[in-house]
């Protein structure tokens, strides 16, 4: 249980960081202009990273609830 909590905390923190960094990088830029002006790889990395981080952050409350329920049962 302790290991699950640690993994969840690390992944949540990592997803937060990835979301903030990729969103802040993309927001002042123009993905279409970037992708067609020789920065396609960077753009794809930022878009994929932001999408994955966002999807994870929206699903992670479910994981936290599951862990909390297990902690409550143990105690």
């Amino acid at each position: 249980l302790r290991r699950s909590l640690a993994i969840c905390a690390v992944l949540t923190s990592f997803a937060f960081l990835a979301h903030i960094v990729s969103a802040s990088w993309l927001a002042p830029r123009d993905p279409i202009a970037l992708a067609t002006s020789g920065h396609a790889v960077m753009t794809v990395i930022a878009v994929v990273s932001l999408s994955c981080a966002r999807a994870f952050l929206l699903l992670v409350p479910g994981w936290w609830i599951w862990l909390v329920v297990r902690v409550v049962r143990k105690t």
Partner: protein, 382 residues
Amino acid sequence: MTTGLASSSHSDGLSRIRRVAITIVLGLISSCATTRCVASRDVTAYFEGNGDTQDALARTVAGAILARPSHEALVYETGVTRFDCQASVAVYQMAILGLGQIILAHPEKRPDYLPAMRHAAELMLRPETMRYARQAYGGDALSATDGRAYLGYVNLALAMLRLVDPDTSFGPLNDRLTNGFVAQLDASPHGMVETYPNETWPPDVAAVVGSIGLHAVATHLDRSAMLRRWATRFEACALDASGYVVQRVDAACIPLDAPRGTGTAIASYFLAFANRDLSHRLETALHGPSILGFGGVSEYAPKHAGKGDVNAGPMLFNISVGATGFAIGASRANGDEDAFARFVRSANLFGVPTTVAGNRSYAFGGLLGNALMLAMLTARAP
């Protein structure tokens, strides 16, 4: 003894299944609640026209436009000239409409946004943004004597600029384009104007008509009779039984494409400047699924199917990004708060609104997406 053990084991199994089920349900509920909470940010503020909320996005759009040198409009280089030029016009048109709508709602913001609107108008009329139209017609791309409904987008933006800046130097061009369109529409048996040679797109005609309506407001002309005459012919030609607008027709009004959500939604937004009844009818015809407060607009009307196109953008289960985005403007222009909230939540979920140094932008949108969202989110309420 054996029976008791089996019973206890069976009971433990059921209890475990129940616990797992409860945990999964709780997890799903919490994930859905988080998603909805995150996506609902600023929905009410936008619908009510909160100035600070609008400013955060408007500053981003205005700043990006003013940062552009006046001799070089933004033109994407995707290799598809038609898309590149149309996207460029859309960036500046939507920016002008969005900023103009804010000024109309909050006149004290005129000094903040008028310079960006003027600059956007100059960039919108640059030769590079009209490259595709010049190729299609040859010669002057800013003439409106033989079709050219693509200029409806330009003229709508110029009419908005004129409304908030009556002395604009673009007034004569706005008059010339409008008079040309009025003559063409009145002479057309179906109320249609070609966008490019042998191409008639009713949603583009809606932009033309929106520009005539807005020009009438800006110049205090009464064109209501002409606009009513046009609406009857337009409905007969382009309105499907589903209430959706047919995306493309030929010269005899034979459909060349299906009734589509993108065309219907954007036509509803444009027509709010000229014919509120028709705009409202189109807005109420928009349909699509609604789940947990999120909504999307079906791209193809019932009994029709297709793969979409660049206007529709990415599509999933017949729900298109383009139709849903344009429906934000259609629903606000028609005072439909529930629909507006559903569509904006979807845009917030997938567009990732991000605030950097007090300026808001959609991370996946770029200047085109931000300008479109600004125009749709600030569409003039009835």
